[in-house]
């Protein structure tokens, strides 16, 4: 049965009347055209669709829209529009993190989530931080290096 679900999307209040059991992933992509949210596996394994729900990184392929009712959702589009997000994007570009690119928006969200909680992560902590995001191209090393670059370039920004 359709319901009206209201939530905050990238800082803006939105609402939609639809089946609340639709996957948040489909609603973000189809209804709100957040195409940076990628579908890679449909079962919470690959992290390509990662978004922030109330500040926590989640995979919206596992989340029914209804669970976002009254909550706050931030997608890669929202993150990369911020200064912090841009630091990550630029570091990814300079550090050679990007190959086919399909996992990358999810990686950007993971990097943002990590650095927001841990401004100076170690190599191990970065590897843990992106361990829920599968990449088949890069072997991860240059993504890890790029996140280190984003941490150092951002400096105190990550502590705000």
């Amino acid at each position: 049965m359709d319901k009206t679900i209201s939530f905050k999307l990238n800082g803006e209040a939105v609402s939609i009347t639809t089946d609340p059991l639709r996957r948040l992933l489909d609603v973000l992509r189809e209804d709100f055209k957040c195409h940076g949210v990628k579908e890679g596996c449909s079962e919470g394994e690959c992290g390509a669709c990662s978004v922030l729900l109330n500040g926590e990184m989640v995979t919206p392929c596992l989340i029914p829209l209804g669970a976002a009712d009254g909550q706050e959702v931030v997608t890669v589009e929202g993150i990369t529009a911020t200064e912090k997000g841009d630091i990550i994007v630029q570091a990814f570009a300079d550090g050679g993190a990007v190959q086919c690119g399909f996992c990358i928006p999810g990686m950007v969200v993971a990097a943002y989530y990590l650095l927001s909680r841990n401004p100076n992560p170690t190599e191990d902590e970065i590897r843990l931080g992106i361990s829920g995001n599968l990449c088949r191209c890069t072997g991860y090393d240059l993504i890890v290096e790029s996140i280190k670059l984003a941490a150092s370039r951002g400096g105190d920004i990550w502590k705000k």
């Binding site: 690959c46 570009a93 050679g96 399909f102 991860y140 890890v144």
Partner: protein, 721 residues
């Protein structure tokens, strides 16, 4: 103007748009006026289709199958061979074989209808493994013997006469399994008639392949189809021929319905019903003299081809050409067989047949060395091939082989010699080493006889230069390095060089984006074209230059006998892997990975670095966790929680090194490298694990439970084979 070394890293042109998620993959396109397509497939591995029971289809919904192929159309897809049917007709030969395509506007209703389809079969007994295929289980279904294709190579004295005087003969079988590509973007394609042509949008490596492959279905010319590649989220060979399997049915559906039709696989569908790396079985027979020196090596190479030949003979050829690895033996013979089975046809996957035989020969060499009590490194180094030496096809190695220099780099970085001495067999710690190569581009004279690559550069009045060729970007960075090559020659900023995703109506056919040929062959054409353009660039407003591939003289090849110069330039690699094995559980922890590669002069060190990291990890995945079993014709692992690829925590940061060895016929001296970097890490990893547990490992993948199995029941290195 002094320009810095071309190797110095630049920003990839697609890096920012991919990071922001603004670049569009096919699933991001607005194709609302297209119907959805859903492939209806065989659920059994072998049998006769007795009846297809369809639900009543509402208006606007269609079921399209072989019977809809118009007069003059052919029910096959042209993928080198022409045996792969676009639609199963009468019988089915593997699980997942396309029977029809269901189309309609509402995806939910379409799925409901799809679930109601019931197909009645008369089932036959399938052959699934290589052994079952050879044994013709259920009766032969190809050539009376289930051998799709075969070849034989011999070098030096006849091996049988060498065996007669050998001191010792070692026989060993090495096996490798299926591997799934797991490109992060699943397969997707769409087809619609626009004007008098069919327009295909596809996530694909080779737009020109698609056109040629599917045109026969409607009995039209390839030129009647326009293929536009869309941003491709990884491919690794899995989108070389396989998009044809989507596009053939889509073309017929567009013809029948008069509408655009689109298809996007979900992950389960993509793993269950797509091509894989060929499983292999290599049976060695090696003759040793009284000092343990190799006198002759004989091998039989079996690849599980699946139900259709398609491109597999070429895969098998490359496998056989690489079975001598980086070594030269006094006498050598190999026979290769492509075995027909009732599994999803195997196809291209990074390395294209070379990784299987390279893994086999590396592992076999280790086992001989360990049996003789010699460090594998020392034993292998006795046989390193050098410039001018005879190859497995009686050609010669054209270039300088820099294995000694590469070896020094990885030995220093890994401390191999000390560790190899100190880590006792079975101690739980192990270090392994492998040597490998990869012949760049198409075999022999294929580039000149078959591909005939062509490239154009177009200069516009505003100074921009467009690169026109069929080469695709699929993540490897080609659409960044080409503008780099061209802008370097023309001495203009990179931003002035345009290189869009290819459209077959706009660009000349420069051959497939495959075989590690793009930089080496097409990059060289771009460099030559830029050199032709340069003297005219400032003088003329708008013009085009074109270059065509020319094969260097003096390196003959006979495709009928597979004799001569198979490859003009090889990439070379050395890899060392160090591991620890958990004595309680058999879990392997990788402690270090070091590699050195010769891929000529690097066009962009960061792009090459990224390719190296990814290839090495994919190779270790293949050897370790990537188990893909086929049970009675069905793949057992059908999701990425079951099919286990490495995460960021599985392996540590890699030590990556290169040697400088400019290639004569490559742009700025570059050679192919995309496949090379896959070819050897699996063998180094298995060498390390097997030393750590003190047991011979002769089959991959080798996940935790199989490591435990070897710990409990494996053979010690000193035992007889």
């Amino acid at each position: 103007m002094v320009t810095e070394d071309i190797s110095k890293a630049i920003r990839r042109i697609d890096a920012v748009s991919k990071s922001k998620g603004t670049i569009k993959y096919l699933s991001d396109y607005d194709l609302d006026d297209y119907l959805w397509g859903r492939l209806v497939r065989s659920s059994i591995p072998r049998g006769i289709i007795k009846k297809i029971n369809l639900p009543d289809l509402p208006e606007g919904y269609f079921f399209v199958s072989a019977k809809d192929i118009p007069e003059g159309g052919k029910n096959y897809l042209h993928m080198i061979a022409t045996d792969w049917r676009c639609f199963a007709d009468g019988d089915v030969k593997y699980v997942g074989e396309t029977i029809g395509i269901l189309c309609g506007p509402d995806k939910t209703l379409l799925e409901d209808l799809y679930e109601e389809i019931n197909i009645e079969y008369e089932e036959a007994e399938p052959a699934v493994s290589i052994d079952e295929g050879i044994a013709c289980k259920g009766g032969a279904f190809i050539n009376g013997n289930n051998i799709h294709c075969s070849l034989k190579l011999e070098v030096g004295e006849n091996v049988d006469s060498v065996f007669a005087r050998a001191d010792k003969i070692i026989e060993e079988t090495i096996e490798t399994g299926f591997q799934e590509h797991v490109y992060l973007e699943t397969n997707a394609a769409a087809c619609k008639k626009v004007g008098d042509k069919y327009q295909i949008l596809a996530s694909a490596q080779c737009p020109f392949y698609i056109r040629k492959s599917i045109a026969p279905v409607l009995g039209i010319k390839p030129e009647d189809i326009v293929v536009q590649q869309t941003t491709t989220g990884g491919a690794f060979g899995g989108k070389e021929h396989f998009p044809d399997v989507l596009c053939g049915p889509l073309l017929l559906a567009a013809y029948v319905t008069g509408r655009g039709v689109k298809m996007i696989f979900d992950r389960e569908e993509d793993i269950e019903f797509s091509v894989k790396r060929h499983p292999s079985k290599v049976m060695f027979k090696t003759a040793l003299d009284k000092d343990g020196n190799i006198m002759a090596m004989d091998s039989k190479v079996y690849y599980n081809v699946g139900a259709y030949l398609a491109s597999s003979f070429v895969v098998l050829q490359r496998g056989c050409f690489h079975v001598t690895g980086c070594y030269k033996f006094p006498s050598f013979r190999t026979e290769g067989f492509g075995v027909a089975t009732n599994t999803f046809p195997s196809c291209a996957f990074r390395g294209f047949g070379a990784p299987q035989t390279l893994f086999a020969v590396e592992t076999h060499m280790c086992h001989i060395a360990e049996k003789l009590g010699i460090d594998p490194l020392e034993y292998k180094s006795r046989y390193f091939i050098k410039q001018g030496d005879v190859t497995s096809t009686n050609g010669r190695v054209v270039e300088r082989v820099m294995i000694p220099e590469m070896l020094n780099q990885v030995l220093d970085a890994s401390d191999y010699k000390r560790k190899s001495r100190e880590y006792k067999y079975g101690s739980g710690r192990g270090i392994g080493i492998s040597f490998y190569n990869h012949g760049g581009a198409f075999t022999g004279n294929g580039e000149s006889a078959i591909i005939k690559a062509k490239l154009r550069l177009h200069k516009y009045p505003d100074g921009r230069v467009e690169i026109l060729c069929g080469q695709t970007e699929m993540g490897q960075g080609f659409h960044s390095i080409m503008p780099k090559i061209v802008s370097r020659v023309l001495e203009i900023p990179m931003e002035k060089v345009v290189f869009d995703d290819p459209n077959t109506d706009r660009v000349p056919d420069s051959g497939p984006t495959a075989a590690s040929r793009s930089t080496m062959i097409v990059g060289y054409l771009a460099e030559k074209a830029a050199n032709l353009m340069k003297p005219r660039y400032d003088k003329e407003e708008e013009f085009e230059v074109e270059t065509n591939y020319e094969h260097p003289e003096g390196y003959p090849w006979d495709q009928a006998s597979f004799q001569g110069y198979a490859y003009l330039g090889y990439g070379w690699g050395v890899c060392v892997v160090e591991v620890e094995v958990d004595p309680c559980t058999g879990e392997v922890t990788t402690r270090g990975i070091w590699s050195s590669h010769d891929c000529g002069h690097l066009i962009d060190e960061l792009i090459v670095h990224g390719q190296t990291n990814g290839g090495i990890l994919q190779g270790i995945g293949w050897a370790s966790t990537e188990v893909l079993e086929n049970v009675k014709g069905h793949f057992k692992q059908t999701s990425i929680s079951d099919y286990i690829i490495p995460t960021s925590m599985d392996h540590p940061k890699q030590g990556v090194y290169y040697v400088e060895n400019a290639y004569r016929w490559g742009p700025s001296g570059a050679k192919g490298m995309g496949e090379l970097v896959f070819n050897g890490s699996g063998a180094a990893y298995i060498d390390a694990v097997s030393r750590a547990i003190g047991k011979r490992i002769s089959a991959i993948p080798c996940p935790t439970e199989r490591v435990m199995d070897y710990m409990l029941h494996g053979h010690d290195f000193k035992e007889e084979f």
